[in-house]
Symmetry: C2
Subunit: 207 residues, 2 copies
């Protein structure tokens, strides 16, 4: 099971690491973190650097292709090299997946035309620019293209992919292995659930 | 707000990156990833390397000290240098926190003596070796020492720390910012909730 994860400057680390932690437990998983240039990639906070051990040309096939989001997504959407690579891999993937604004990158590659999709809730309407139909669902499956909502939604998406690939028992086993039994102190993880002034606060920070 | 996160070979990436994604959003956060040796640290799957931009001696103070878990925890518990560093930082922290088997490392440093604590459910009884009282709770607060259960529990713990440091609104805003509105396909994230044969399966894999 070849898994390719795109890394780029100013991406959000958890968008990639959440699903990675789940998908890397698939039987025979072979995960490759790839970027335009091999080496260290600085994530959006500036505090954490992840190693891209492969450059794009070294990853020519993937069963699962994963595109994380983050403030750097706009830059990536301008990169013909990345978009070509995504289109090329997508032809033979079993699943092409995104987390957060990673879906905007899939959109820029022309892969969401006419499909329902999701992204970070503050960026939802941007999906229309790429011919996609925004939906507030946490994980949206459209054939082999699977988009997840903001940041942490990638964990839920990855557990669903594991379920499809290796079945119910194995997905539950991975969930139990990472003890994913969420108990946040509040129930404010979506704009529909958070208090209005908290939604406004996040909008003012995230623009 | 100085945040120090210990990195080491064969750690579990999400143990560190989950809480990092939350804590790095604290006002004036300054996060330092530190390891015995500066440079790349290979995580437990072998597929992902994180950059330790600091060596231990370069981080002499932290408001929050975070110790992740992973299969490499046993090696770290033998390292006098790491344990000395943890004890030294702990003297002045506001919170000393662990995720998963990171609590066993805190225990080896002598910091859990007589305290209630948690860890990954498959390792729970090991806490007794360090004079701690195991509990199945997801997040255990004992004064300024806060331990979290396996892997993904660090996200919940970090949201609690943000609540204590910056208040309810801000914690909710961070939760909404990362869209932490969990919707896993199953409810099997703890041994009490997962089917018996799934619990057995994970035990057989994780030993």
């Amino acid at each position: 099971m070849k898994i390719a994860i795109l890394l780029y400057e100013d991406m959000t680390a958890l968008d990639a690491i959440g699903p990675y932690e789940v998908l890397s437990r698939l039987p025979d998983a072979d995960v490759r973190f790839a970027a335009e240039k091999k080496g260290l990639v600085r994530t959006d906070t500036g505090f954490l650097r992840l190693s891209a051990d492969y450059e794009l040309s070294e990853v020519s096939r993937a069963d699962i292709l994963l595109v994380p989001g983050g403030p750097g997504d706009g830059q990536v959407r301008q990169s013909g090299r990345v978009l070509d690579w995504l289109r090329m891999l997508h032809e033979k993937t079993r699943f092409t997946a995104s987390v957060c604004t990673g879906s905007l990158i899939l959109g820029a590659a022309g892969l969401l035309q006419g499909l329902r999709a999701t992204t970070h809730w503050t960026r939802m309407e941007m999906l229309r620019e790429f011919g996609a139909e925004p939906t507030g669902e946490r994980v949206v499956e459209q054939g082999k293209i699977v988009t997840a909502a903001g940041v942490s939604a990638g964990i839920d998406m990855a557990l669903r992919l594991v379920q499809k690939i290796s079945g119910d028992d194995f997905s539950q086993a991975v969930q139990l292995g990472i003890e994913y039994d969420p108990q946040p102190p509040f129930d404010s993880g979506s704009p529909a659930k958070a208090p209005g002034h908290v939604v406004d606060l996040v909008r003012s920070i995230m623009g």
